[in-house]
């Protein structure tokens, strides 16, 4: 059996500090926005039929 997913992660102490610090300094760059648009186009070129 494959390794189980880590669902419902809880961040405490050092983990929480790392997360909040990264959240505070999280910057979205124009390049990231362009890459997101490219990702959406890649999905739209092969959309899944639900």
């Amino acid at each position: 059996m494959a390794k189980a997913l880590r669902l419902g992660l809880t961040l405490n102490d050092e983990d929480a500090k790392v997360f909040w610090q990264n959240e505070k300094t999280y910057v979205v760059t124009p390049e990231q926005k362009l890459q997101l648009k490219a990702a959406q186009k890649i999905y739209q070129s092969h959309p899944i039929k639900f």
Binding site: T10, W20, Y43
Partner: protein
């Protein structure tokens, strides 16, 4: 081997008719997952797996799960408040890109990057329009971390690195990515 044109690849959700007997990627764990666990996990509604096929053969897959991250409140760093400023969410909704693989023959041709982008496109273009979701999360294996870090999508470390443990969780803040 000639590289594959993305337009020649078909994408479909996993079902019981798919055959993975000739599927071999670089990770035994991922081979084990797609051959033995993926369909069961999907039936149990723990993950959904999408397959990428070329000339009738599955050459890659990605699986997604609804997830959440609970974060201890730090007095100075609370960020997710209701508009009245009183209530605070410390349990935040995510979509986990749980597993992503490409068969050995087509490694290092950009297919993993395309599959990652496809999944991010699905999450941001479809899922986020239907369900509240603040982050995309991944638990990359050490050998595939570069795929995420070079994606240009802003994957950021989510938890502290532990002594003797080289793997950790990374995330994209799609709230900021979609709204800033």
């Amino acid at each position: 081997m000639a590289s594959i044109n993305w337009d020649d690849i078909s994408v479909e959700a996993l079902n019981s008719q798919h055959d993975f007997s000739d599927f071999h990627c670089a990770s035994e764990d991922l081979d084990d997952f797609i051959k033995n666990d993926a369909l069961h996990e999907q039936k149990c509604m723990l993950s959904r797996t999408y397959l990428f096929s070329y000339e009738g053969h599955v050459i890659g897959f990605v699986s997604l799960s609804a997830d959440s991250v609970a974060v201890q409140r730090l007095k100075t760093d609370d960020i997710v408040r209701k508009q009245d400023g009183k209530a605070l969410y410390s349990n935040l909704p995510c979509i986990l890109i749980g597993r992503l693989a490409v068969i050995k023959q087509y490694e290092r041709q950009g297919l993993g990057t395309k599959i990652l982008n496809w999944a991010v496109g699905l999450i941001t273009d479809v899922v986020c329009k239907s369900v509240g979701c603040r982050y995309i999360t991944v638990d990359p294996k050490a050998e595939s971390l570069a795929l995420y870090m070079k994606s240009g999508l802003g994957f950021t470390q989510m938890e502290a690195l532990k002594p003797g443990k080289i793997e950790t969780r990374y995330y994209i803040n799609i709230y900021k990515l979609l709204n800033e």
